[in-house]
Structures are given as C-alpha cells and as structure tokens.
C-alpha cells in the first residue's frame, strides 16, 4: 500500500455565512473574501505541512490544479511542486496534475514536469486530468465540446516531446508546432509515471487501461459512495483483460485520526463542516456545460438511472452529473451525516486503520491519497493528524497488497548520486 499526503490548499477564512451570502466557492467567488496577507501565511503553512508529511514518512506528497477556487489555491501546482522538490529528499512528488488542454502550447507541461523531475532527481508522478468543468470551461473559457479531444492531442504531444530524441514537427488538429525539442528532459526514462485523475467516465477508464496508466478517483464523498464507480472500473479492466493489480487505482479520502474516537470528533467536526459546507458550495449552474460529459457516459448514466428506478433503488452510476453531486452535498450538512455517510474517516488509530483496510480492499485501491488537512483545520492539528497517522495507522496497513508490484511509482536517481541538501538552511540564515 502506498500513502500519498494530498493538500488541496483551501482558503481557510471564508466567512461563517459564506453559503448563505455567496452563490459559489468556485468560478465567481468574490475577490473581497481574499486577503493576500493572510494567504501569505496560509501558503507557507501549507508548504510546511507537506514537508512535514514527507518527514513523517509518507510515500508521496501531492498537489493539484484549480482555478478561481476558494478551496484550492493552486492555479499552478508546478510552482508548489518545485518548492517541494527543493525541500524534500526521498518522497515522491505527485502533481495531480496539469490540465493538459489549458496549456498553450501543451509542450509547456512536458517542459515544466521535466524541470521538476530534474530538480527532484526523478521523484515526479505526472498527473494529467481533463480538469473539472469549473476550472476548464468556465474559469479558463475552454470549449466544452472540444476539451476532451484537445486533452488527448495534448497528451500525445507531451509524450512525444518526452520520448523523441530529435526535434520534430507536431502537426495536430489543435496544436501545430514546427520545432518541438524540450530542454530539459526528464530524469525518469522514457517518462515519469502517469496518473489520470477522473470520475465515472467509461472512456477515461478504458483509455487509462490501454495506456497502462493509474486511474485515480478523486471524490470527496468517501469510499461508500465510490463503490459503484470503482466496481465499474474493475469490471472494465476485466473486460479489457487487465489484471486486478490494486496499484492501477488511486482513491482520495479525508481522514482525521486522534487518540480516541471522541477526541477525533471533537477536533475534526468544525473543519469537516467547513470543508463540506463552505468549500464544496459550488453553484450548480457551473456543473454541466454541454459536451463536457461524453454521450457514452450520459447514456451509461441514464441507463443506470432507468435500471435503478426499475429496481426501486436510488440512482447511482457514474457520478458525473450535476444532480448526483448536488444530492451528495445536501447529505453533507452536519458532522453526523458526514461521518455516517463515510465522507470522512475519523477515529482512533485502530478505527481509522480498520476503515481504511475496508476501503482499500472493497475498492481494490493501492494508491491511497489522504486529505489530512481539510477545511480550516489548523496547521498544528494537521501536523498532529499527520504524525499520528504515520506512527500508528500506516504501519498497520503498509503490508497490504505486498504481493503486487507497483509499476507506477517513480524511479529516482540513486540517493548517493543526488544533490545534497545545502548546509545553509533558510531558518539558520534568518536573523
């Protein structure tokens, strides 16, 4: 089992009445809520927390890309990843990832990821999300009808830029470049491991499998809600003749661990309610720009709703449509529901280990992404949560799936070949 410590970098001081007074945390969130001088401290604390997680022994630290977003202050995850590359030594750095279609030319992604791979000595995991509708089509104005095709083409361009030894011309449908020749080149050859974050899109599963990439389901709604999607994923793998290697799949989970279950509830209720109440308050009009969800996925969704209705159950299936996200949000009003529905896993180290064991085995997921700073959780508590997890939960689960090979993990340079950390550490140099 691999443990990846994932930071969303939320703005931690959204007002109490945010949900009542503001239509959306994303796309048109008002600038008056953002105080750059407070953000200075938030960014620095967030970086501390990621570095702390690395020091505690997590296998990887993760960041991701969002735009115009009050719960994700990383329009450029590569800036964060490069800072982390300088301040950590052995931990993998997972950028989950760069929304390929938003880069013009996409060659930029090949370059920046190669830079991070060089600076870190080959520790990069390269994530390629299509990107949410809020980020891509609304905040960045990308055409929803062309987004996926642009994404696939950008992927092909980035891969060729990494692999080809000679300067080449790229004659694409959307991108044309006479001279593609990136400097620097990635340490990991032919390229860093590629992970694809996604939701319930059948095409994405199939494509990730064909390309032999990791598929990561980034849901904020816990493993109980994820069972339909992950079951669909593994059924698709079986149809494609792929093995059930759990390292093919990643899953994100909010986790709060404390000495006892009661202490965990006392410590984490406020931040969890902040996260589900304020951070995930997205105006539903930004959920479904036409064309973003492919027709095959729409069809699968409608068929599943029809089938569930016929069987008298609540509709599940691919969770890409607005209504299901809205439904889940409405279930997340208070901590009791948040815990009962399994959105967050909180408890004593034993409780948490047990639930994560169940998560990992029912979803068959070997790459576990842990959201251990969530909502307005303080830096102090985030470190408490992180350390306790590393000391008391991780050892209980570490051996899980040891019979499988993780073929999707970075292959860094040997540590004796890598640059040493400088002696003049910043804190030592400070007056």
């Amino acid at each position: 089992m691999q443990f990846l410590w994932f930071h969303l970098m939320p703005y931690k001081e959204l007002p109490e009445d945010f949900k009542e007074k503001h239509p959306s945390v994303w796309v048109d969130i008002h600038s008056s809520l953002f105080d750059p001088k407070r953000a200075h401290h938030m960014y620095n604390e967030f970086l501390d927390e990621l570095e702390f997680a690395a020091a505690c022994g997590f296998d990887a630290i993760c960041c991701n890309e969002h735009h115009s977003n009050g719960y994700g202050l990383m329009p450029s995850p590569n800036l964060i990843a490069s800072a982390l590359a300088r301040r950590t030594t052995n931990t993998a750095i997972c950028v989950l990832g760069n929304s390929l279609a938003l880069y013009n030319p996409p060659t930029r992604v090949a370059e920046e990821f190669a830079m991070i791979d060089c600076i870190s000595g080959g520790r990069l995991i390269a994530g390629f999300p299509v990107g949410t509708p809020m980020d891509t089509t609304f905040a960045y104005g990308s055409n929803p009808s062309l987004l996926r095709e642009r994404y696939y083409e950008a992927h092909d361009l980035v891969l060729r830029a990494w692999k080809e030894k000679d300067t080449f011309a790229f004659n694409g449908r959307f991108n044309q470049q006479r001279y593609v020749n990136i400097w620097p080149r990635p340490v990991q050859q032919p390229h860093p491991p590629i992970w694809i974050p996604g939701a319930g899109s059948v095409e994405t599963w199939r494509w990730a499998a064909e390309m032999d990439y990791v598929f990561c389901y980034l849901s904020y709604y816990g493993y109980k809600m994820a069972q339909n999607v992950m079951q669909g994923f593994w059924e698709e793998m079986a149809r494609l003749g792929k093995d059930r290697n759990p390292y093919r799949a990643g899953f994100a989970q909010v986790v709060g661990v404390a000495e006892t279950r009661q202490q965990a509830l006392d410590l984490y209720t406020g931040p969890a309610e902040y996260f589900y109440g304020r951070c995930l308050h997205v105006d539903p009009r930004f959920a479904a720009p036409p064309g973003y969800v492919t027709e095959a996925t729409q069809r699968a969704g409608i068929e599943s709703q029809v089938r569930m209705a016929a069987e008298g159950k609540a509709a599940g299936g691919p969770a890409t449509n607005a209504s299901s996200a809205t439904k889940m949000q409405s279930l997340a009003r208070d901590m009791q529901n948040i815990v009962a529905n399994g959105y967050v896993i909180v408890g004593s180290p034993d409780d948490v280990a047990e639930q994560l064991h169940e998560l990992a085995t029912t979803l068959n997921v070997g790459q576990l992404m842990l959201l251990m700073q969530f909502g307005n959780l303080s830096s102090e508590l985030t470190k408490f949560n992180t350390r306790l997890f590393a000391e008391k939960v991780m050892p209980k689960l570490k051996g899980l799936f040891s019979e499988w090979e993780n073929r999707w993990w970075p292959r860094p340079m040997e540590s004796r070949q890598r640059a040493a950390l400088p002696a003049f550490l910043p804190q030592a140099a400070a007056p």
Partner: protein, 260 residues
C-alpha cells in the same frame, strides 16, 4: 398541424434532416438555440403562402453528430453553405433565428448569391461588454426555458419528450444541441460577426423579442447600422429570445410583409 415531408441529405458524412412543407417560392429557416426536435406553428404560418424548407444544423436535432467534425469557424460556415445548397435553398429567401441567425447572416455576407432576402431573429455572433449577453451554458436545467421564451412552457413543450420517443436518446439529443451551439459560440457568443456584416447587401429584416433575456434587444440597432445593404429593425412585443416560438403569427407576418 400539417406534416412536413422529411428527406435526408449528407453533410460531411452525417445524415441530415430536411423538412419541406407548402408551395410557392422557397423560404428557408435555420433554427435557433436548442434546434427543432419538433415541427412548430411558426413554420405552418410561413407554409400558407410559401414552400418552407428547414434543414437541421450539424449537431442540432436532425443534424446527427455533424458538429463533431467541425473545429473552426470556417468549417462551420462551409457546412452551412453545403446545407443550403443541398436543401435547395440557394438563391432563395432565408430566415435564421438565434444560432441559425448567425449562420444566415454569414451566408448572406460571404456568398451573396446564395441569399435573396434575409430575416434575422435575434442572431448570435456579437458581444458587447457594456451590455453583456447572458450565458446560456451556465444555467440550471430548469432555468433555461425562461431564458429562451417569454412563456417558459412553450420552450419546455418543444423539448418535452413525446410518447414513443427513445427515452435514452431523446435527452442526449437535446444536450447535443446545446453542445453544438457551445462548440461554435463558446464562451461569449462572439464570432466577430460585425466584421462581415458590411458585406451583406441583401435586404435584411432584423427582428428581436422585446423581452429577450439572452441577447439584449439593443444589439438589433448596432447590427442594422453595420449591415451593408438596407436593414430594418422591428421589435416583437411580449416575446423572448426565440420570438418565433412566443409569437409565431406576428413573427411570420412581419417576415412575409418584408419579403412578400
């Protein structure tokens, strides 16, 4: 309500529906946002004195997945030209509403021989930051109808699945129409049409629903000023963006008065 004849033409390899009804000189109609999943009363009014020909735009109901091969504005315009040629509309009178209005204007501008007289109903293609158009793609599903017609139930009825329709494909087809419009007009509806308007020499009637909540009715005057030939503006009272749905009689009468 009369039943139109339906035929199929090939546009870029996609089977494309053409409706035809009535007799007399031809008059074409390119439909607006959401397209025409059903025949509408407005077309009956026109068919009383004219041969009405209604080809579907790529990706709109009846237009299959034709939008999927159109990447650039030029691709779209060439498809629209192919459409009016194959539908037998070249050289005749042409009406376009909303999304279809933008195509009708482009055709008249770039290929003047294709369009004798032109009627535009609140066409897409312009954006004025001082008076921004609403965003049809950032809406809750239940709010779209009120953006399209003054009486939301009219648009809802047009989009309502009829009994016997395929319950899976029908909603997908309606989403596809919104996607096709997005494919060409995302994100602002601005194709810089104003640069081609001076090329329009055909007599042009510009109609606008006085209560258009999607595209401000003030766009009508700036459009009329930019058009190269004679252009006349008429507001349709008590009508929204798709005025031909809200006020079929009034819109048809205004058009037939202008191009008898």
């Amino acid at each position: 309500m009369n039943e139109p004849d339906t035929s199929t033409i090939d546009i870029n390899g996609f089977p494309t529906r053409v409706w035809r009804l009535g007799s007399g000189p031809t008059i074409g109609f390119l439909a607006g946002y959401g397209g025409l999943p059903k025949w509408i009363p407005f077309l009956d009014r026109l068919a009383e004195t004219r041969t009405v020909i209604v080809p579907s735009l790529p990706g709109f109901p009846g237009g299959d997945r034709g939008h999927t091969v159109l990447d650039s504005h030029l691709d779209w315009l060439l498809a629209a030209r192919d459409l009016i040629d194959k539908a037998g509309l070249a050289g005749g009178d042409l009406i376009g509403s909303s999304v279809g209005g933008s195509f009708a204007a482009e055709l008249a501008a770039i290929w003047p021989d294709k369009v004798k007289r032109l009627a535009l109903i609140a066409p897409f293609g312009l954006f004025d930051a001082r008076e921004p158009a609403a965003d049809p793609w950032a809406q809750k599903q239940e709010d779209i109808a009120a953006l399209m017609t003054r009486a939301p139930e009219i648009y809802k009825a047009l989009k309502q699945m009829p009994s016997g329709a395929n319950s899976i494909e029908w909603p997908i087809e309606q989403t596809r129409a919104a996607e096709a419009a997005a494919r060409i007009f995302w994100p602002l509806g601005n194709t810089r049409l104003e640069r081609r308007l001076p090329l329009i020499k055909a007599p042009t009637l510009i109609l606008w629903g006085a209560e258009d909540r999607l595209l401000p009715a003030s766009y009508a005057d700036s459009m009329a000023r930019a058009i190269g030939g004679r252009a006349k503006v008429e507001l349709i009272a008590a009508a929204g963006h798709l005025a031909e749905l809200d006020k079929p009689d009034e819109v048809a009468a205004a058009i037939l008065r202008f191009m008898p």
